[in-house]
Amino acid sequence: MNDFLSLLPLLIISSGAILLMLLAAFEKNRLETAAYLSMGVFAVAFFVQLLIGCGPATTLFNDVFNGMLVASNFTHAAGLIILACGFFTTMTTHSYFKVNTFCTLEFYATMMFGACGMLLLTLSQELITAFISLEIMSLAIYVLVGYDRSNIKAAEAVLKYLMLGAFAGSFFTMGTALIYGGVKSTKFIEIGAFCADNSATSPLLIGGAFFIFVALLFKAAAFPFHAWVVDVYDGASTPVTGFMATALKTAIFTVFANFLSQNSGLHGSWVTFLFYISVLTMFGGNLIAIGQNNLKRMLAASGIVHSGYLLIALVAISTEHFTGSVIAYYLAAYAAGTLGMFAALAYLGGESEKRSTFDDFKGLAKVRPYSAAAITVFLLSMAGIPPTAGFMGKFYVITSAISADQMALAVLGIVSSILSMWYYLRLIINMYFHEATESFETQGSLFATACTFILVFCVFAIGIYPIII
C-alpha cells in the first residue's frame, strides 16, 4: 500500500496528461480550461507528494518491478520540486499565452508528460529505466522548445537540442551496455555491490560510467557540453525556458547523485574528474554570462554556473550515509529564484518577448516598482545574498565541500559566486539607477503576477526554513 502511495503523484500526473491529450481532440475546449486543469493536477499531485512523506529508502513493488524504482527522502524532495516547477510554469504560461498566441491544448499535455518522465527519472535505480525516463523527459522538452513553429529562433533551438540530445542518449546507451558487460546487471545496487567486491576501476566500468556521465553532464549543461544551452534557452519561449532550467536539472542531478552514491569506490574514482568539470563549468559559465546582452541568454549562462555549484555538491556527497539534502536544498533554492525570474520575464516581456535586453529594463523601477523589487529579490537569491534561499543553498554547498576536505573547490566556488555578482547586479543597476530610454507598457495578468509574488515569498521561506527548524 505504501508503495502505491509513493507512486501516486506519478500516476496522477500521467493520467492528467493523458486526459488533457484526449480533451485536446475536441474543438470546444478552451485554452484557459486546459491551463486550469493542468494547474489543478499539478497542485493535487504536489499535495499528495507532500502528504505521503517518506522514510528511509524503500524499493517500490520489489516483486513486480524487480527493484527498479526506489523512493527515498531525496527522491521525495526532488519530486516536490519538480511538481512545484510544473505548477508555477503553468501559472506563468496562462498569462504568457494571452499575448503570444501560438499555444494549443497539447502544450499542457506535453508539459505534464515531461514532468512524468522527470518523476520517473528521480525514482529509477536502474540504467534502462533511467534511459527510458530520460527520453520521455527529453522528447517532451524538445516539443515544448519548438512549439512556436513560426519563430525561426525556436526552430533553430529545437534542431540543435534534438541533434545533440540524440547524441547524449546514444552515449547513455553505450555506457549502459559497457556497464552491463562488466557487472552483468544494470541495477544501481548491483553496480555498487560489484564495486565493493571488485575494484571500481575495471576498464568496462570506467568506460561505461564515463559515457553515462557524458550524457548526464550534457543534460545538466556542464562545461564541455554546455554550448547548446544559450541558444536553446534563448529560442524557447520564456515559461518553457524556466521549466527546462529548473525541473529538468532537478531530475538529472537526482539520478546523478543516486548513481554516484552507490559505492565509495565508484564515487572516489571519479572525484578528480568531477572536480575539474565543476571548476570549468563555474568559470566557463561566468565568462559566457558576463558577455551577454540579452537577459534570457544571461540567465541561460548563469544556469551553467549553478550546475557548477551542484557539481561541487556531487563531489562532496558522502556515500556512507547519503541523504542528498544539500543537493535537494540547493535545487529548491535555485528553482524558486529562476522560476520567479522567468515568471516576471513572461509578463514583462510583452508580445513576442519584446523586452529582452538589459537596456529594455532601464528605469523599470519607476514604471513598475513591485515587479522590479521582485526581480531584485530573485537576482539577489541567485547571486547568493542573505537572507535569501540562494545564500543558504550556497552556504550548504560550500560547507559540504569543506567537510569533504575539498578546500580548493570551496574557495573556487566562493570566487565564482563573487564573479557572478557582476551580471546580476548589472540588471539591478539598470532597473534602479538608469532613466528609461523608451518605454512600453505590458499588460500584467493576474496569474503570472501572483506566481511572481508567491515565488518571492518562497525565496524567503526556503531561506529561513533551515534556521527555524
Binding site: S14, I18, M21, E27, R30, L31, V64, F65, N66, M68, L69, F97, T101, F102, C103, T104, E106, F107, A109, T110, F113, G114, C116, G117, L120, E126, I128, T129, I132, S133, E135, I136, L139, A140, Y142, V143, G146, Y147, R149, V158, L178, G181, S202, P203, L204, I206, G207, F210
Partner: protein, 169 residues
Amino acid sequence: MFAEALFFGFAVLSVLGAIGLLVFRHPMNGAMSLVVTMISLAGLYALLSAKLIFALQLIVYAGAIMSLVLFIIMFLNIQESDLPAEKGRWLYQLGGIIVIIPIASFLIKIVKSIPGSKATIVGSGFGGVKEVGLVLFQDWLLPFEIVSILLLVALLGAVVLAGKRRMSK
C-alpha cells in the same frame, strides 16, 4: 572459425553502412546504406542465437521502417539540383574524424581489456518468443510499461510539431 569469419564480415559491413549513411550526399543512397547496416546487425543477432530479435530486426527495421523511409524519400523526388551546396564539407568530415579518434582509441582499449571466454552452448529455447516474453514480462516489466508513455509522447510530439495547427481561441 566459421562463426568468427561471419562475425567480422557482418561487423565490417555494419560499420561501412553507417559510414555510407554519413558520407553519401543523396538521401536515397544514405537510406540504402542504412539498410545494409540494419541487415548486418540482424546477422550479428543471429550469431548470438537471438532468434526473435533477428527476425524482428529484419521485419521491423530493415523491412517496415526502412521501406517507409524509402517511400518518403521517393515521394519527395529529390534531384541532385535540390541538394544544398555544402561548402567545406570535407573539412567538417576531417574534423569529425579527429574528434572520433580519441573516443575510438578509448573504446578499443576497453574492448581489449575484456578477458576472453569460451563460447558455451545455450539452452535450446534461448532467444525464442517464449523465453524473451518471460524475461520481458517478469524481469523487465517496468521498462516495458514506461516505453508506452515514451511512444505516446513521441506520437503527441509528432502531431504537435508537424500537424496542422488550430490557433488558440
